[in-house]
Amino acid sequence: MGLGFLAARSAFIGAASDEEARRGAVARFEIEPHSDLEQEALAFLVEAMGDESWRVRKEAVARLSVWHDHPSAARVLTSALAEPDNVGRRNAAIEALVALGYDAIAPLTDALTARPEHRKVLVDTLGLIGDPAAGPALVPLLDDSDPNVRVAAAESLGAIGGGEAQAALRGVLARGELLLTLAALDGLNKLGARLNAAELAPLVDQPTLRAAVLEALGRTGDRSALPRLVKGITDGARGVRESAIVAVAELHSRIDAAGQKEVIAQLQHLSAIQPLVQALIEGTLGVQRAAARVLGLTRRAEAVRPLTLALGDGELRDDALAALVSIGGSGLETLVALAPDLEGRLRADVYALLPRFGPAASESRIQGLLAEALEDEDVDAAAGAAQALGEVGTREALAPLLRALERAAGEENPAAQAAAQALGQLGLRHYDEVRILITSRGLSGPEAPHLVRVLGACGREGDAPLLRGALGADASAVRRAAAEALAQLGGTSSTMAAEIGDALLFALADEAPEVRAAAARALAGHPRNASATAVDALERAAHDLEMAVRAAAARALGALALANDDAAAAVRPRAAAVLRRLAESNEAVAAVPALEALGRLGDLHDERLLIAALDKEDAEIVKAAARGLGARRDTGRSREALERALTDRRWDVRRAAALALGEHGPSAHPLLYARRTVEQDPLVVEALEEAMAVAMGKRPRAR
C-alpha cells in the first residue's frame, strides 16, 4: 500500500538503522504528478541514492527510472553527478540516467557546455546511454584540454556510433596520442567501421595498438593487409594473435575469390598451426569460431584432429564442420584414420560428416568403412554411419543397412531409426531393390515398423494398399508406423486418397493411443481427406484420454482450417468452429495449437478470443495467444493487450509478447524500446531487439 510522500520521508529518516524500512519508504511513497512536493520528492530520491545500503540505492534508482516526468528527473540526476564524495550516489545517478535514455541527453549535454570539473563523468554517462543524439556534444571534446576527457570522449563516441562519430574518431588516429588512438581504434572496431589499410599501416608497429590495428585491418577488405595479419598469428602476445586470427577470418569473408585463394596460399606457409589450435581451445567464442574457420583455410591435415574434437562443443560445431569439409581430400583421410580412436559421439559426428566431402565419400573404401561402422557398439556412432549411408550409399549399402535394422530393432534405438531413414533415402534412388528386400521379409517381426516407414519414405502410391493392410497388423508399433507412412504418400489419385482417408479415420478408434495420435497427424497432412466426418472425429479425438492424441487432433484441425486445398474448403468453417471451442479450454495441450491456428486464420472475430487467452493462468496458453496475435493484422486492441503481456512476471511470456509485437510494425516500436530499457532477462532482451528490427523493417516478418 502507498504512503504519502511526507510520511515516507519521515519514515525514512526515522529508520536510520533499519535498511528494509528505508527501502520500503522509498519504494512505496506515492505522489501526484505536478504536485507542489514533486521537487522535494525528487530531492528525497537523490538523497536515498546515496544511502549506505545498496538495496536502498537500487530502489531509488528504480523509482527515478520510471518517474512520470523524465526531463525533470534527468535534470536532478545530472546535478547529482557533480557529487564529489559519495561514489554510491554518483553511480546510482549514472544508472538512473542510463535507464531514462534519450530524455537524459539534453540535461547532460547542457551541463557539458559549462565545462565543469566532472565533465568526464558526463561524457561517460552519455556513452553508456549510447544514443547518437549525443554525438555533436561529444565530438568537440576530442580536443579537450584534459587527456582523460579526450579518451573518454573517444570511448563514448565508439559506444554511440553514427556517421559523425566514426568520422571524428578516424580524425584522431594520426594525432600520435597513444591512449586516444587506442580508444578511437577500439571504438571504430566496436562500430564495425571500415577503414583503409593506408591509414592503419603507420600504427601497426606500435605494440600497444597492434591488436586493435589488426582487428581493423581485417575489415578493410584489402589484400595488402594479409601479410601483416598472417604474421600476427604467431605474435608473442596472445591478444595480438587472437585479433590477427579474427581479422584473417574477417578479411577472407570480405574479399573476392582471387583474394580468398591468396589467403589460403599464405596460410599454407604458416610455420605452425599451434597458435590457431590454442585459440580454438582457449579463446572466447568469437575467437574460437574464427580459429576454426582459419584452421580450415590452412588446408592442413594436422588441423583435422583439433577441429574434430571441437565438434563436441555445441557452439563450435557448425564452424568446425565447415572447416573440416573445406580441408578437403587430405582431411578426409585423416578423419577416417582418426575415427576409431574417438569417443562414441564424436565418431557419430565424423561419420555423419563424411557425405559432405562430396564424390570422395562414395568411394568404395569409405562405403566399406561406413558399412562396418553400422556395427559400432556405440549406438550414436552406428546411427551416424547409417545417416551417412542414407546420403551417399550405393546399392551395396542396402544389405548392411537392413542387417543393422534387424540387429537394433525391437528397442528404442537411434541406430535402428537411422538405418530405416537411410533405407528410405536409398529407396528414392533404388526403389525396386528396396521394395524387393522389404516384401521378401514380410511386415512382421521387430523390424516391421521400420520397414513400413521405409515404404512410406519411398512415397509410392503403389504401396498404399500394403500400408493400409498394415493398419490392421497385430502389433501396435506396426499400425502406428503404417499411419505415419500413409501420411507420406504424395500424389495419390482421388480414389486412393479417399480410401486412405477412410482407413485413417478408422484408425482414430484404435485401442492404442500411439496409433490414434499417428492417425490424427496423418489426417492433418492430407487435407484432401477432409470431410465433415473427419472434423467430427478429430473433435472427439481432441478430448481423448491420452494427451498425445489430444495434441495431435487439435493440430490436425488447425491444419484443416488453414488448408488451401479446394477439397478442404467445405470443411474449413467447421474445423474453425471446433478450434474456437478448443481455444477456450484451460488445457494447454489442445488450446495451444487451436490458438495458433486461429491466429493464422486471421478472422477478425477471433481477436476477442485471443486477447482473452492472454489472461489465462497457463503460460503456454498465454504464449500461444501472443503468437496468434502476432500472426494477425495489428489492431489497437491487440497491441494494448500484448503490451500488458510485455510486463508479465514470466520471462517466456514476455519473450513471446515481444516477438508478437515486432510483427505489428513500426507502431509497436516505442513499446518495445521502452521495455528494452528495463528488461534484464537475456532471452527477452534478445527477443526485444529482434522484434524492434522486425518492426522497423530491418528484418523480415514471419508472416
Partner: protein, 283 residues
C-alpha cells in the same frame, strides 16, 4: 535455433524451459553450449511419446499426471547422465590410488582394519568394480573389511552395474592379466565380474545434491567423483563438495576428473601432489 539433429530442432527458449525443469527435478544443469547434447539425447522421447516437437514435449512434462511426470523425468535423467566409461579409465590417477593412496591408508590404520571407498557417480559400474579390483590386486587388504559403494542418479545404469556383465568396449584399457583374474566369459561372448569382486561392491541410487540420501553412505576413506561435477551449476557443486567433505574421514582422499578442480568451490581440502597425480585430502 540450436543445431538440429534429425528434424527435431530445439529453440533456445524451449531449451531453457526444459533445462529449468530438469534442474528443478535433480539439480543437473545444462550450460548453453551443451544444449545440443540435451537435444540429441531427448529427441527420441518425442517419437516414443507420440508427440510432435520439443515444445509439445515440454507441455507434456507440465501437464502429465504426477506419475507420468515422475517416470518421464527418470527417463530424462537416465538419458542425460549416461556417458561412455570403461574399466581402468584414467590410468595415471588409478595408479596414484593403487600405489600411493592405498598404502598410505594401510599404514595409517594399523588397528582399524576397515577400508571404504565411494565411487560417487559410478555410471554402469566399471569404476566401482575397478576400485575393488585394484584393492584386491595390492594383496594388502586380504584380512580387512573392504566396502566399495557405487552410486549414481540413473536407475538404468545401476541395473547394468548390478548385473556386472560387459562387452568388449569396456575393456579397452584393461590388462589381459586383470581381465583373466577378475572376469569370466559368458556364453554370448561378454564378460562378467567374478563373484569375489562383486561381493565387495554395493550399488545405490543417489543424487549427490540430495543430502539426506547421500548420508546413507557411511564415512569413507576415499571418494572418487570423476566427471560428475560438470553436471551441476556453481551453487550445486558447492553443496555436493560439502557433502563429500562430510563423508570423508580425516585424512581421507577425494579424486576428481582430470579437468576438474576445487578452485572457487571450497578451501576445506588440501591439494596433495602425489607422484602420479594431484588429489585432494581432508585435513
Amino acid at each position: 535455433m540450436i543445431s538440429p539433429s534429425g528434424d527435431r530442432p530445439l529453440s533456445r527458449d524451449t531449451f531453457r524451459l526444459l533445462r529449468d525443469v530438469i534442474y528443478e527435478h535433480c539439480g543437473i544443469f545444462f550450460a548453453d553450449e551443451n544444449a545440443y547434447i540435451l537435444q540429441r539425447r531427448l529427441a527420441p522421447r518425442i517419437d516414443a511419446l507420440s508427440l510432435t516437437d520439443f515444445p509439445d514435449y515440454y507441455r507434456f512434462l507440465r501437464s502429465a499426471s504426477p506419475e507420468q511426470r515422475r517416470s518421464e523425468l527418470e527417463e530424462i535423467v537416465d538419458r542425460v547422465t549416461t556417458n561412455e566409461t570403461y574399466f581402468f579409465r584414467e590410468q595415471y590417477q588409478l595408479e596414484a590410488f593403487r600405489s600411493e593412496i592405498l598404502p598410505e591408508v594401510y599404514a595409517r590404520k594399523p588397528r582399524g582394519k576397515r577400508l571404504s571407498v565411494w565411487s560417487a557417480g559410478c555410471s554402469s559400474g566399471e569404476e566401482a568394480y575397478t576400485v575393488a579390483m585394484l584393492i584386491m590386486d595390492t594383496g594388502m587388504f586380504g584380512d580387512w573389511e573392504v566396502r566399495v559403494f557405487g552410486s549414481d542418479i540413473s536407475r538404468k545404469v545401476l541395473q547394468i552395474a548390478r548385473k556386472g556383465v560387459y562387452s568388449r568396449a569396456s575393456f579397452r584399457a584393461t590388462e589381459p592379466r586383470l581381465q583373466r583374474r577378475f572376469f569370466r566369459e559368458t556364453p554370448d561372448g561378454k564378460h562378467q565380474v567374478r563373484d569375489e569382486v562383486r561381493q565387495l561392491v554395493s550399488f545405490g541410487q543417489i543424487n549427490l545434491i540430495d543430502e539426506p540420501m547421500a548420508m546413507l553412505v557411511g564415512e569413507v576413506d576415499v571418494i572418487l567423483c570423476r566427471n560428475v561435477l560438470i553436471y551441476f551449476d556453481l551453487t550445486s557443486r558447492k553443496r555436493v563438495i560439502d557433502t563429500l567433505h562430510r563423508k570423508l574421514v580425516r585424512g581421507g582422499y577425494l579424486l576428481l576428473g582430470h579437468s576438474e578442480s576445487l578452485i572457487n568451490l571450497t578451501t576445506a581440502f588440501e591439494l596433495v601432489h602425489l607422484k602420479n597425480d594431484m588429489v585432494y585430502r581432508k585435513p
